[in-house]
Symmetry: C2
Subunit: 296 residues, 2 copies
């Protein structure tokens, strides 16, 4: 079995799940994707997605979960919560060994190649994470609606809020607001119906329009991206205060929001060395090292 040892990295976010299988020489043997794997919404559901993505990756390598000798790092959204992490660690899994962490930590390890640094992740949610001399620092990312300011969910919610302000006559319509209202067939009650079951990713679907309209000078869009960028700056500033020597911006909104960040934030930014998957694989390799050392 030792000769066939493989590393599996899984980046399990709130929107989707990605898996990558590599051998100890670093060759990619397979990749897979699946649905949301945030353990806040159920460990069983999260694991089902993780295994789906892993199965796909293994299939590409001509392997199955039963016959592979795998050391995995499962980096799952929601796994920063201690009782939930304990519950997931007690869950039966088919791997030789598993290291659990959260997706922000894996992203930070990936972005800085395991060196000290911080990340500001701006996607459906927002979170800041730093690893400095072995210590972890977290800022934000507590979830919509009480946290995640500057995220896609936040931008979308604030934009829809202003659609209703315009509809009520509290503010002037802008191009952005009129376009968004059109997406709800210009019916405020359809917005309410939509909201009743809307998840953060549903709110986040409107975020890209906000950023795009800001680029065309839409006053409401401008207000929102400036305010959202200020929240991202606050995450970055806190990570710098605790000692992060460099920062990387990650997530679907990282590039679109970058022009709106403060100069102080921009000055700290470096290009990420790798993504959360590469961070998860690095953490899996660290966990596998004693075994590979024994095999050598």
């Amino acid at each position: 079995m030792v000769g066939k040892a493989l590393l599996l990295g899984v980046d399990g976010g709130g929107t989707g799940c990605r898996a990558r299988l590599v051998d100890l020489d670093g060759h990619v043997r397979g990749e897979g994707t699946a649905g949301p794997a945030n353990i806040r919404f159920g460990i069983k559901e999260s694991f089902a997605q993780v295994l789906r993505a892993a199965d796909e990756a293994l299939g590409q390598a001509g392997l199955t979960l039963e016959d592979a000798d795998i050391v995995a790092c499962l980096a799952l959204a929601g796994a920063s919560e201690p009782t939930r992490l304990a519950a997931v660690e007690a869950y039966r899994h088919p791997f030789r060994r598993v290291v659990y962490t959260n997706d922000a930590h894996a992203a930070c390890v990936g972005a800085h190649g395991g060196q000290d640094g911080g990340v500001v992740i701006a996607g459906t949610g927002t979170v800041g994470w730093a690893v400095i001399q072995g210590r972890h620092y977290r800022v934000g990312g507590w979830g919509f609606p009480i946290s995640d300011e500057g995220s896609g969910a936040w931008l979308g919610c604030e934009a829809v809020r202003r659609v209703l302000w315009a509809y009520d006559g509290r503010i002037e319509w802008t191009d952005l607001l009129a376009m968004l209202f059109g997406q709800f067939r210009s019916d405020a009650h359809l917005i309410v119906q939509w909201m009743t079951t809307a998840r953060p990713r549903d709110f986040a679907r409107h975020a890209r329009a906000v950023v795009a309209y800001a680029g065309h000078g839409d006053p409401v869009a401008l207000e929102l991206v400036r305010s959202g960028a200020a929240h991202l700056d606050a995450l970055a500033a806190r990570l710098v205060t605790v000692g992060a020597p460099r920062l990387a911006m990650l997530g679907g909104l990282a590039e679109p929001m970058r022009p709106w960040l403060a100069a102080e934030t921009a000055a700290r930014l470096v290009t990420p060395a790798g993504d959360a998957l590469s961070g998860a694989l690095r953490l899996a390799r660290l966990a596998a090292e004693p075994a590979s050392a024994a095999a050598a």
Copy 2:
């Protein structure tokens, strides 16, 4: 049966449901209360609460739903939504006649004794409503988290958001934030757990503390009540713009928030002539009048 005709008013809000039974001379024959009756969360559930409150009121009058001849006005939260209103109107009910409306309209009718005017309701949610020369005007009240700014839910959510900012080191702790954090056993993860299933009324439970601490000069509490009051001012200003000659403030936060309102808002405020139940009873009487005229 005509001799026994009775009027039933029901104020069915998102937090609770109140019923009052009066005879055509205006004598109160019974009162009842029950749980939340917002039809946004189910017409069947809403009706179950309405009938529970009505049963209690009838019991006090020594009557049952079967032997009473009742004209009812059911003023239900969520009934401003047209398709939902149509669904509730098609629902089988045990009354001779029912008029359906939403709780804000009934509150407006009650506050101004059926005369032209507007109301700003600040409770778990916020909404502005006006009736002017037979026309209805609505502002806000589209529901948390996309609307209801300045409400109890909004104040509570914004306060908890800032607890997490302080916990993360993004802002300084204040007495309010430290006290609120203590309510979550000083554990940010308990806040996240709580939020996962928190309803607007759960967020609103923290609103009174925000207003109380503002009175003692807590800087975060002050920022929040000023911002919340500005949202209530915006509702009031819109109602004045559309022609409301006078305004009443209603709801559990009306008195606590009153000192923080703009002078322009305060200058328009009158003491409400009655509550939403009295408004619902007035609307029930209007619906009953043809029958009572025939009986006279």
